[in-house]
């Protein structure tokens, strides 16, 4: 069976390996440049004691490569589209399953070996890309501290492996159910985007309950380290939530909530009238965030979710293929 899998997929394997090699060369070269750029910037700012605002004064690497790295968000689904969806659907569509299934191999073993090798290939695909991107982003993560944010979290660490497994399983399942390659491709793409978006938007913020910090609006607050800030609300003197500003505002508070003295700040220097300052002091800012220390816990939870989804989809595909007539 393994021989058949290899014979059927060796061309795709070569294309995949070539793409990975090209990406590796590009990221290795630019990654090394960025690392040296970062180290010299740190050395320079240490000498002049200006490291506090290093993140805003230095831009590492190039926009083009940075864009390409963000595009690896879509890499996992490619595995599902090009390997997963046709895996079963193309055979059912052309009837070649009737050739394969009349050799001395049970359908169960046929599916297990085929899906097994391709899941492994998907995991390697997702893993290699993620390893490259994670290493490449090292200096940038140290500078911007944003690896926990959606869009960055999704292309680093171990989650890309789980996404690739999920995409592959989704493709196989869609192919087994729809029995045609093109519809299976469409469902895989749409399903992958929908599930990833839903998990990112609605589930991920709640894996562990967020940390809430309340402070005066007059003192700014930034969650420490590479935290993922979920929201910032302003609470008024009576504990009422202040609506987001939709026009003139001071410290994110619409002027309607504030005394008239806040409406006309003194000319020239930004000075706030004492009566306005007293009013502002009664407003609180509430910041909710996930601390940077939870990064790997979140990676683990998200990986678990997508691996479980993949297992469920594969189970459905197996039941459909084994129960239905060929």
């Amino acid at each position: 069976m393994t021989w058949l899998v290899w014979r059927q997929h060796r061309a795709q394997f070569c294309v995949g390996a070539a793409l990975l090699a090209a990406l590796a060369v590009l990221l290795l070269i630019t990654g090394l440049q960025m690392a040296s750029q970062y180290h010299s910037a740190v050395a320079a700012c240490t000498a002049t004691h200006t490291c506090a605002n290093l993140s805003s004064s230095v831009f590492l690497g190039s926009h083009a490569v940075g864009f390409l790295v963000i595009m690896t968000l879509g890499a996992p689904v490619l595995a599902g589209l090009f390997w997963g969806a046709p895996l079963v659907a193309a055979e059912l569509e052309t009837g070649t399953n009737q050739f394969a299934w009349m050799q001395s191999v049970t359908r169960k073993r046929w599916l297990a070996v085929k899906a097994g090798w391709l899941l492994l290939a998907a995991a390697v695909w997702g893993g290699v890309i993620s390893a490259l991107v994670t290493w490449w982003s090292g200096p940038d993560n140290a500078l911007q501290l944003d690896q926990f944010k959606p869009g960055r979290f999704d292309i680093m660490g171990i989650v890309p492996v789980a996404y690739a497994l999920f995409a592959m399983a989704l493709g196989i399942c869609a192919g087994a159910l729809l029995r045609r390659t093109l519809p299976a491709l469409a469902v895989t793409l749409a399903g992958f985007i929908a599930v990833r978006a839903a998990v990112t938007l609605w589930l991920r913020p709640h894996y562990i309950s967020a940390v809430t910090v309340t402070h005066s609006v007059l003192n700014g607050y930034t969650p420490p380290g590479s935290a993922w800030q979920l929201g910032q609300d302003v609470v008024g003197p009576h504990g009422n939530l202040v609506a987001a500003p939709n026009g003139a505002a001071l410290y994110n508070i619409p002027l309607g909530y504030l005394p008239a003295s806040c409406a006309s700040p003194a000319r020239g220097a930004v000075r706030i009238a004492p009566s306005c300052r007293a009013a502002l002091a009664s407003f609180r800012s509430v910041v909710t965030y996930q601390p940077g220390g939870r990064y790997w816990a979140f990676q683990g939870i998200e990986t678990g979710i997508f691996v479980l989804l993949a297992a469920g989809l594969l189970a459905v595909a197996a039941v459909v293929l084994l129960r239905r007539d060929a």
């Binding site: 014979r7 009837g95 070649t96 009737q98 050799q103 191999v105």
Partner: protein, 313 residues
């Protein structure tokens, strides 16, 4: 003699359409059985059920001593070639031989290569670029290379030219003569089947009309030619399969070979083609002898269980 296939009440329903109903077939070892029937009679369904590619809705079957199942030992013994001739379009003959070699316990790669060479079919060209006949030859050779004990072929010769057809059937007969092989061969080409087959399964409208050794079946049937008169006397001892009436005479194809007492009737032997066509042209009421209820026929033709052809009244 051992029985290779035995089915009882075998039925297959696709949604509301009955593809095969109440099918009882017995096939002894070493036979080449011709599976005949009009389009849509259930030939492919029967073969797919026997191969284990589809599951019956009702009924039982024993194939090679067991129920068709997902088991390497069973699959190794059964060769099935689908009508669509499924091959991997991008794979060469050599690739297909490789697949077979990796997936089967018994595999005669040399046989496939020799056969393709003798037919001048290239081993290194993608199957998709071969002609229809060449693909059929390749698929047949691959099916035989598995060395199955039961070979199920769904219209294998349809894509072959007359010479290749004769060649293929000769190969088949040879393989069966070597022993241990039983074949079911579905086809519309009666003349071809007559040459190699010694057993017949005739399906019409999802039901088995005839099943048995061809010689025995032919001996059971006869043609009676007589004056145009009532056939009730004949029907007492025989089943009228087909009746053709002209102004002066009646020709009956009957089942049952009791001697004819009435001197008005002359009997004659029946040929395979005549017999098969008579059964195939029956209305969709199933076997007349069993008096099965009519399905989708209007009342008048359901009452009369005679097929009347060429009536000139």
């Amino acid at each position: 003699m051992t029985t290779v296939i035995q089915t009882c009440g075998l039925s297959k329903q696709y949604r509301r359409v009955s593809a095969l109903s109440d099918c009882a077939v017995t096939l002894p070892e070493g036979r080449i059985s011709a599976l005949i029937g009009p389009n849509g009679a259930g030939k492919t369904t029967l073969l797919r059920l026997l191969a284990g590619l589809a599951k019956p809705t009702a009924g039982e079957m024993t194939v090679l001593g067991g129920v068709p199942r997902q088991d390497p030992a069973f699959l190794a013994e059964v060769g099935f070639l689908a009508q669509e001739i499924p091959l991997y379009r991008r794979f060469t003959a050599d690739d297909h031989i490789g697949i077979g070699a990796h997936l089967n316990p018994r595999w005669d790669a040399a046989y496939v290569r020799d056969r393709l060479r003798s037919l001048n079919i290239p081993l290194d060209r993608a199957a998709g670029s071969l002609s229809g006949g060449q693909r059929a030859q390749l698929a047949l050779a691959l099916t035989l290379a598995k060395k199955p004990r039961l070979l199920l072929l769904d219209e294998p010769v349809a894509a072959l030219d007359p010479l290749a057809r004769r060649h293929f059937l000769a190969t088949l007969a040879e393989a069966v003569a070597c022993g241990g092989l039983t074949v079911i061969l579905s086809s519309h080409l009666l003349a071809d089947l007559e040459r190699v087959a010694d057993h017949l399964i005739l399906l019409a409208t999802a039901r088995v009309q005839l099943c048995g050794d061809i010689d025995a079946l032919l001996a059971e049937h006869q043609i009676l030619v007589g004056p145009r008169k009532a056939t009730t006397a004949i029907e007492k001892t025989r089943t009228v399969v087909q009746a053709v009436r002209t102004a002066r005479q009646t020709t009956l194809l009957v089942r049952g070979n009791a001697p004819v007492v009435d001197p008005d009737w002359e009997s004659a032997e029946v040929g395979l083609e005549e017999m098969v066509l008579a059964y195939m042209s029956q209305p969709s009421t199933g076997q007349p002898s069993t008096g099965q209820p009519s399905t989708g026929q209007d009342g008048a033709s359901a009452i009369s269980h005679l097929t009347t052809v060429g009536e000139d009244q």
